[in-house]
Amino acid sequence: MNAGNFFNLFLSLGVLGLAACIVRKDRLRTIVITVLALLQSLALVACGILIQIHQTPIHVELWRLGPVNLSLYLTPLGSLFAVITAVVFASCYSFAAASHETKAGTERRANRTFLALFQLFYIAIILVIAAGDVLTFAFWWEVVSGLIYGLVLFEQANVRSVRAAYSALAMSEVGSLAGIVGLLILAACSGHTAFAAIAATKTGPGETARWLIFLLTFYGFGVKAGLVPVNQWLPDTHTVAPRSLSPVLSGATLNLGIYAIFLVNMKLAPVTEVGPGIVALIIGGLGAIIGIVYAATQTDLKRALAHSSIENMGIVTAGIGAGFIFWQTGHTVLAGMAFVAALYHMTNHSFYKALLFLGAGGIEASTGTHDLNKLGGLSRRMPAMAFLFLVGTLSISAVPPFNGFVSEWLTLQSVLRSVELSSRSVRLCFVLTGALLALAAGLALTCFLMIYASGFLGMAHSDAAQEARGAPRSAVWGMGALAILCLLLGIGPTYVIPSLDRVVSPITHTQTAEALVPNFFHVTRESPGHLNPGFVSDFHDLGAQVGHRFLPGRGLVVLHQGGKSNPVVFAMSTAYTLVVLILLVIFAYVIFHGLTRAREAKRSNAWAGGLPRLLPQMTYNFTGLSAPVRVIFETVFKPLRERTIETVGGHFRTSIRVEERQEHILDRVLTRPILAGLLWVANHFRKMHRGQVNVYAAYVLLSLLVVLLIGVGGF
């Protein structure tokens, strides 16, 4: 079986899955659909792995439409995205297919049409990735946008969701338009519409054309990726989306934008100037900080996760921007490192964000709410879900040994490598972006710890949380699989980086794996290979060979070598760290247990200052925990506060109402002024329309005169 066969298997299973939605019996349908989806994803993963191993893309010619050849072209780059999508869908499918009981006891049956559209959505996303020419790409891109609109609107028809879906569609369409125009310009410049052909052309577009292509595609496809400043649709859409759709929206569709940007600007028309890289870098840094600052102050769990997606996409974009700049200045190894870091972060984000959104969906299924101020104490009611959500929290906060740590660390290290650049202004941009990324990382830890604490720890702040039943098993299974992946991706960077290298090196033409993962398992003092012997013996003494007897691969240490004065630029090993951590925990437990064997632990109520009863509203909730962030970043939020106090009898207050209204900083700084400007221009143009026939007749005459002058007079 080769990759092509697996791809066909994927498509056929997809069609079967579509057909299976007709089954009436709920349990049977759930099982059939889940099994089919799992098999489908397995097929796709196998396909992707085979493409990466053999480094041969799948090239399928479809039909001929006039002068254009429609084709499918799944490259190693695309296969990475396909594998990620497959894993995300596999973990969410059982949650989507299962029927959930709502709190009121009424069965909410997963709607069959929803499931059919969901399957179509899956196939459409893969076909966007596998598209081989501009027309196929554009077609399936539009299908994806349309399906997002339809799926988001599916279960609730209230004003909020309609508005969110509509804004997503509108912005997405404008973006698609810009992106497709960019692709068309690229096709026109190179004379082909097929991607393979465009990539193979020797002379690319000219300088202006390249800038135009970059700007159009970066803006256009950046809308889908959730880049600042065109991501206003993201928080609303992800919040109102049905609970099984949100993980996929965050985990799979945001990557499409990154795929498109990367494809156009590295594969099809590689960047030849520093400018695009700087734009991407700055936009990434701004996205990171704005995303996380807003995430830390949202009381709605899903909205906070959506803003956090903006932050993570910002980090990915910054990594890609850094890669562009390194590539353009000739540091190809560093470019490879930056791209690997960015793609690693994108992968990690897909997994842990899907994990967190599944958690949010599970919480909503058992408590009926995702307002953090109303949750609390859930770790006692749903211990498995709490543990897995904790894994997701630690991953997204970049805590070792989970995956978020590795990718953020690598991204920051790549940004730090800007010392090897010569241009001072470029280095300055790197420094600024690095500072923004570091601040964002710190805030992310704060944000997610607050979210976890107010959601799962402490006392339940509402009846809904107090009486929550266990989380739905379909969600917990999916979360479990993703959590295991998070751990594996965290302790196994030395396996992931070579795989990502297979994706990146055809584009950068360098071996990043060599630069990042030294082959400690296979070199010895006697035959050091590329490394110098003293170096090898030092690291073997430190234990870099531990595990070489039973583990495959190159080693467990990620290390970047420098020159003579600085032999090791950076090094780390999460696998060894995990081992040491486990040993330390065991050691501490043994010591503690030994020391306190004679003592008796006494349990009593929490100390509350002598209160007769501690009520939930007397304990900190999310709003209280996030108050410092709101106060520190007040210039960003600029909230409008209104306080109404009702008094009786002169000085007895009977009610104090505090209302706060906030406008997003991007709306305040960009959208509203732009709209105001456009309206101003439009208002002035309105003066043309006086409503009198004579005026319009005069316009007709005037334009005729102008045309005659131009045509006849030869201007």
Binding site: P612, L615, M618, P628, V631, G649, R653, T654, I656, R657
Partner: protein, 533 residues
């Protein structure tokens, strides 16, 4: 005309005005001895007269005394005139079985807490008061049992039996994520037991509801039936940090009933000891303010001054807190020339150290940052809530009972009243330093000019009612005593300055952050023991 005569003319004009407005309904008589008008008014006209006194004539509010008499209830509202002209008592009588009065708490804010206290302890209902209930007696106390009534014996056990309410006081803040954070009753290292509920959405205290009477020991109830000299022990010890002042107020009430004259030397000694106590109390207060902001060296300096004053009191008077020095008719011990010199020299030395401390604090900008413009009580609020003492004087009011209604030897002393305008924590600190310096000056003046004579006159117990008013270190204190024929106490009412000033605490807190709470608490320097009795 003599002062008394002048006052009588004023009084007659007031009487005329009263007659004009409220003619047949209010009956008034003037008690020349006490320089007090007693106005009998029906419950229906209570609000109008109270409003007229407060707004038109500028009377402040003193206290509300409820007495259970044979025919029902006798409720006396005490109104002192804010420039010291005299007092007006509004007496309202209710028949047996009728226990409803109109509330005046919307006109006279300072009557809010006395009315709530009367409702809890006596069962009187003040119609129109929006917040009656669970004030002195907390949730577990059953409804309908009122301990201050004659039928209830002090020695019986506290009744139990009610399940706790959901949350007292109920939160009124409507905002996303509003919380009601509790502080206390057991909190901090050496804080007095009291509870504060902070309604907040994060860093700012939007509404603060203090809850007191965790230290209620029913002083007014257990005093009933005791001899005056035993009740003096209670009067001294319910608030040990102002023991002498409260003891003095009680003795003045007893002396007013018996019309006893206190010898001049005794009166001067009373002033001296009162100022010594005020000096020590203010040093302790300054130490607390410095400690609350973390300026430990300044706190230690002020604490050294406080301890030296305590030791001085112990050496000259036999007790560190001046317990047992007061007695009806005078003081219980005399000071010889040596003792007076010692006192004079020591307080002079302490005065220099206080000034040095003030200088140091004046230039500590990190310290000033924490107390300047923090915990502001505006002049309007101070006047509206009838706040008293150094707290009110820091907010622009200049009322001091040593000047308005002089007692003991203060008639012959010219007390300089320290006033500041801003009403923030720094203003309160400056008032404390200035009053401490003034106390030192008064002590030295008294020590130098003490006349010879007896220090104690005999006091025959007589039936009757008397009011003793003093300027305690925290503010104006009123002790109302009614004795029967055997000289035993029938009714003992204490209006303490802390009880009055805690009412204004929440005004100072609201709008500031959590970190300012202990500092504002320290700059207020009030006592829960004095408030709760």
């Amino acid at each position: 005309m003599g002062k008394a005569q002048l006052q009588r003319t004023d009084w007659h004009s007031i009487a005329a005005a009263l007659a004009e407005r409220f003619s047949a309904e209010a009956r008034m008589e003037l008690d020349y001895g006490r320089e007090t008008w007693i106005v009998e008014c029906p419950p229906g006209r209570l609000r109008d007269i109270a409003q007229w006194l407060r707004n038109d004539l500028g009377y402040s509010f003193g206290s509300l005394v409820v007495e259970q008499v044979a025919a029902g209830w006798e409720v006396t509202y005490l109104f002192p005139e804010s420039t010291g002209k005299g007092w007006i008592y509004l007496v309202v009588r209710l028949k047996e079985g009728d226990d409803t009065l109109p509330s005046i708490s919307d006109l006279v804010y300072a009557a809010d807490w006395p009315e709530r206290e009367a409702e809890d302890l006596f069962g009187l209902h003040f119609s129109g008061h929006p917040k009656l209930g669970e004030f002195v007696l907390h949730e577990h106390w059953p409804e309908g049992v009122n301990p201050m009534r004659r039928e209830f014996a002090a020695s019986q056990e506290a009744p139990r039996g009610r399940s706790p309410l959901p949350l007292y006081p109920s939160p009124i803040l409507e905002a996303p994520g509003a919380m009601a954070l509790p502080i206390g009753p057991v909190f901090s290292d050496f804080a007095e037991s009291a509870q504060y509920i902070l309604e907040t959405t994060g860093e700012e205290m939007i509404r603060v509801v203090p809850r007191f009477f965790y230290k209620y020991r029913a002083v007014e109830k257990i005093a009933e039936g005791k001899r005056a000299e035993d009740v003096l022990l209670l009067a001294e010890r319910f608030s040990g940090s102002s023991a002498f002042a409260h003891g003095l107020a009680f003795c003045q009430a007893i002396e007013a009933i018996s019309k006893a004259r206190v010898p001049r030397r005794a009166a001067q000694l009373r002033c001296l000891f009162a100022e010594l106590e005020r000096l020590r109390h203010h040093s302790s207060h300054i130490a607390a303010i410095c400690g609350s902001t973390g300026l430990d060296v300044a706190q230690a300096q002020a604490a050294i001054i406080e301890e030296e004053l305590l030791r001085l009191s112990c050496v000259v008077a036999g007790h560190r807190y001046l317990f047992g020095v007061m007695c009806p008719g005078g003081v219980s011990l005399d000071l010889n020339r040596h003792a007076l010199e010692e006192i004079s020299n020591r307080v002079a030395n302490l005065g220099e150290r206080l000034l040095a401390l003030h200088d140091g604090l004046r230039y500590s900008s990190s310290f000033l940052d924490r107390i300047e413009e923090v915990g502001v009580v505006s002049t309007e609020n101070a006047r509206a809530f009838s706040l008293v003492g150094p707290l009110a004087r820091a907010s622009g009011l200049s009322e001091d009972f040593r000047v308005l209604f002089p007692y003991a030897g203060y008639e012959r002393l010219k007390v300089q009243v320290a006033t500041e305008e801003e009403g923030d924590g720094y203003a309160r600190l400056r008032v404390l330093f200035r009053e401490a310096t003034e106390s030192i000056r008064l002590i030295r003046e008294l020590a130098a000019s003490l006349v010879d004579g007896e220090v104690r006159a005999p006091v025959e117990p007589k039936p009757g009612v008397g009011l003793g008013t003093v300027e305690a270190p925290i503010g104006a204190a009123l002790h109302w005593v009614r004795l029967n024929e055997e000289g035993r106490v029938v009714r003992y009412r204490v209006e303490s300055p802390s009880f009055r000033n805690w009412l204004g605490f929440r005004i100072a807190l609201e709008g500031f952050g959590f970190q300012d709470f202990p500092i504002i608490l320290a700059t207020f320097g009030l006592s829960n023991a004095e408030c709760d009795r």
